[in-house]
Structure formats: structure tokens, C-alpha cells
């Protein structure tokens, strides 16, 4: 038995050697740098609607203790009491990732279950491990066999929908994390930075500027093309965005 104990139900231990974070595919993925992460547990699957139901049913949108100051102000101002697509059959199936949730809501849920959002570096390492694979599944070209995404950023269906977290069994990272590519992008803790030059240590990196600045969303979605599904690809949105392109998964830092 490892010194970290068994992973909690639904989570997996992410542990390994320092890895090469970033790539030369895009200026904001540079410079490539060796990053060292302390081991952590990560959710095997994104937070699903059936998971998030406990948060909604528990009236947690009304419980201040789960929310940061700006998050509370945001949900109160707009009278938000549930995810945007909570009543939309295209997005609310129990085994689909919860979506239509702002970064604030994702953070509040994480606090509710005693976890945290992953850092961007944690997410990337969980997606690709220690090799240079393009996608969580490896280097095989993206196809609908592997993930829910939109070639040319133009989905086939005008009225889109999410897919179950296990709809693409090969959409699996080296650590066994499922559905990291496509479907819904995943909120990370970090604020967006146009490159990695801010990271001078490479040890458990975390970029925080201001909670109200844009936050990282990784993995791409059903609205975006295969480039957004690359393990190193970066996207970002204001923390208030609640569109059907974002979801999340959680970590426990050890």
C-alpha cells in the first residue's frame, strides 16, 4: 500500500516524475518547462449531473459558506439557483458532465465535497502523464470514436447535446481519467496567462492574478475542434461564463 492510502471512491492517484509542461504548438503553451507536482488524487470522471444534484438539492446555492465573495455576489445578482442547463434534456442527463456552471459554481461545489479545482499543471499532467502524447488517448488523430468535439469548430448538429462520461471508452488518460478531451471543457483554478514565463520555479505552479480575471478551461468541448483537445492546449473564459461548453472535475491535494 502506498503512503497516500487508497484513492477515495471515484478518484485516482496522480503521481510520477517531473514532466514537460507546455509545447511549441501555440505561443501560450510556451516555454516548455520541467514541472514537478506533489502527488494528488483526481476525479476519474468529470462531475456529473447526478453528482451535482446533491449541491442543488442541498440548497447550497443559498449557503454562503461555499462561495467566495465575488461568487456570492454573482449568483445573488442574477438569482442563480441551479446550473443554466439543469432543465434542458440535451444537457441534464444524470451520467453527463454538469455544464452551464460558472467557475464560481464549480469552486463552490468543490468546497462542498471537500475537494478543490485542479491547477492547470495538475490537469495537464493528469491528461498526458510523462510522455509527449498529443491527446489523452495518445497520438491517434482525433475522431468521433475518441471524443465529442466539432471539426472546424462547427458541430454537425445545431442543437447540440453532451454525451455520457463513458461514451468514448478510449477517451482515457494514462492515469485512467476519462472524458478529459471534448464534451465539456474543465475549469481549472488558475487565471489565464498568455505564456508560462511567469513560472520561475516549476514546482506546483499556480497562476493567480485576480479571481475575477479569466480562468483556464482545459480539454475542449463539443463546440470546439480537435486542437482544443490536445493535452497542452489552453482556453479561458470569464469566471461568470455559464455556457454549455464548461464543466469540471476535482482534486484532493495531499
Amino acid at each position: 500500500m502506498n503512503k497516500y492510502g487508497d484513492a477515495p471512491s471515484g478518484m485516482t492517484l496522480i503521481i510520477g516524475d517531473p514532466f514537460a509542461r507546455g509545447s511549441d504548438h501555440c505561443p501560450d503553451e510556451a516555454p516548455v518547462m520541467e514541472v514537478t507536482l506533489h502527488p494528488f488524487f483526481m476525479d476519474v470522471r468529470p462531475v456529473l449531473n447526478r453528482d451535482f444534484k446533491a449541491f442543488v438539492d442541498g440548497d447550497c446555492y443559498q449557503k454562503d459558506e461555499y462561495w467566495c465573495e465575488h461568487g456570492l455576489k454573482f449568483i445573488r445578482k442574477f438569482g442563480i439557483l441551479k446550473p443554466l442547463y439543469w432543465n434542458d434534456v440535451n444537457w441534464n442527463q444524470p451520467d453527463h458532465p454538469v455544464t452551464g456552471i460558472s467557475w464560481y459554481e464549480a469552486s463552490a461545489y468543490a468546497r462542498f465535497v471537500g475537494k478543490e479545482l485542479p491547477t492547470e499543471a495538475q490537469w495537464e499532467y493528469a491528461a498526458k502523464g510523462n510522455d509527449s502524447r498529443l491527446y489523452p488517448w495518445g497520438n491517434a488523430p482525433a475522431s468521433p470514436k475518441y471524443a465529442n468535439y466539432a471539426p472546424d469548430c462547427d458541430p454537425e448538429e445545431l442543437v447540440r447535446r453532451s454525451t455520457p462520461w463513458d461514451h468514448h471508452p478510449q477517451n482515457r488518460s494514462p492515469f485512467g481519467c476519462m472524458d478529459m478531451a471534448g464534451n465539456v471543457a474543465e475549469w481549472c483554478k488558475d487565471n489565464y496567462s498568455p505564456n508560462y514565463r511567469w513560472d520561475t520555479t516549476g514546482i506546483n505552479p499556480l497562476c493567480i492574478t485576480d479571481v475575477t480575471d479569466d480562468h483556464i478551461a482545459r480539454g475542449g468541448s463539443g463546440l470546439h475542434d480537435e486542437d482544443y483537445m490536445r493535452c497542452t492546449s489552453r482556453d479561458a473564459y470569464p469566471p461568470t461564463v455559464r455556457d454549455n461548453i464548461v464543466g469540471f472535475r476535482c482534486v484532493i491535494n495531499l
Partner: protein, 215 residues
């Protein structure tokens, strides 16, 4: 007078559908002869109404420019119409009248979903030569792309410009529009520096800021 030969936008068949971003969906049809663009100033202090012929009587500008969508794609097309400033000039409004104020745009709307709206900063829109557009690539705007008229401020994401315009209101309030209230997108709507899919070039490029003039 523009004499730009209009060529088909490369890979136009791959442009993501505009219907996805036309909140209320386009009206099933627009009776052009009955359509008017109303312009009000400070809650009705001054009111104007323009038919499409009125707008087309203002010298047309034809410009090849790049718009950026908040859904991470961008396309450069040839747009025909007038500058927002041209409309204000035509209405006899001066810079002193509208400096520091905001422009709320409202759509024609549909019976099912009503109208949708967006508000932008007038000073920035004027400085960036925001356009009121009635043609794209040499032809009338299709209904799904905003016929008879749409506004684009090329420094902002596409959601900040309403398609199928019916009303412009010059006001003192920077109001949250549909996409901000519904889905939490930013009020300012400025194009953020990050990677986008460039539809007409079929590649991804990092856009530092808009208006994009480098490619």
C-alpha cells in the same frame, strides 16, 4: 467610392453556423419595405427612423475585415455597409452629442423569443470604424446572418453586435445584454488574447488583440 472586387471568402462553406449565435433565431421573414432602423437619443430627446433605402443612400463602404467569435473562431470577409459614424453624421449628431455614451442595439425579434440586445461603448466603436452592414461578400446579408442590417465592432466579439437590427438607443447606461445575462459573457466583450481557429485560413493562430489586421 469603393471599387473593391468582391471575391468569395476562402472556405466560406466551413464558417460555423450563425444560427447558433442568433439568440432569438432570425425572423422567418423581414418585409424590407416596412422595416425601419429607429435611432433614439437619450431616451427620446431626439428620434430618427431610417429605411433600408435611407441607409443605402449614404455612400457605401466595402471593407475586407476580420471578425472574431467568442466561440473561438474567426473569419475575414468583405462587408458592405456604412460606418456607425456615417449614420450619426446623417442624423446630424456630432461627437459632442455622443462622446462618452453607450449604444444599445435591439433585434427585430420573434414572437417566440422576443428581442435580444447588446450595448457597446460608442467612443470605441467610432474609433474602430464599427460598421452597420447590409452586404457580405457582395450579396445581401442572408437572414441567418442578420438581414437586413447588423452591427459589427471589429474590436469586440461577435456577440456584442446584434443581427437583424431594429433599434439603436444612445444612452448613458452600459447595460448588460442578452449573452451577458443569459450565459455570463463579459460586458465589455473585447477580443481576448488567446488562440482562435481561423476559418478562412484553416489554421489556428494566436490573436493578441482586435481589430486583427495582421492576417
Amino acid at each position: 467610392m469603393n471599387d473593391l472586387k468582391v471575391m468569395k471568402t476562402p472556405r466560406i462553406e466551413k464558417k460555423p453556423s450563425s444560427l447558433r449565435y442568433y439568440q432569438d433565431g432570425p425572423p422567418s421573414r423581414v418585409e424590407t419595405s416596412a422595416w425601419k432602423l429607429s435611432l433614439s437619443y437619450l431616451g427620446g430627446e431626439k428620434n430618427f427612423a431610417f429605411s433600408l433605402d435611407d441607409i443605402k443612400s449614404i455612400p457605401k463602404r466595402v471593407e475586407n475585415r476580420r471578425m472574431v467569435c467568442v466561440c473561438n473562431w474567426s473569419i475575414r470577409r468583405t462587408w458592405g455597409g456604412i460606418y456607425l459614424k456615417d449614420l450619426f453624421d446623417h442624423a446630424g449628431l456630432t461627437e459632442d452629442d455622443y462622446a462618452g455614451l453607450f449604444l444599445k442595439q435591439l433585434s427585430i425579434g420573434t414572437p417566440e423569443k422576443g428581442k435580444y440586445d447588446s450595448t457597446i461603448r460608442i467612443d470605441d466603436a467610432i474609433a474602430r470604424n464599427a460598421m452597420l452592414i447590409y452586404e457580405v461578400d457582395g450579396e445581401a446579408l442572408p437572414l441567418e446572418q442578420g438581414y437586413p442590417l447588423r452591427l459589427i465592432d471589429f474590436g469586440l466579439y461577435g456577440y456584442k453586435g446584434v443581427k437583424g437590427l431594429s433599434e439603436l438607443q444612445i444612452s448613458t447606461e452600459f447595460e448588460l445584454g442578452h449573452w451577458e445575462q443569459y450565459a455570463g459573457y463579459a460586458l465589455e466583450g473585447k477580443v481576448k488574447p488567446k488562440k482562435y481557429f481561423i476559418v478562412d485560413l484553416k489554421e489556428h493562430r494566436f490573436i493578441e488583440k482586435a481589430e486583427v489586421i495582421d492576417f
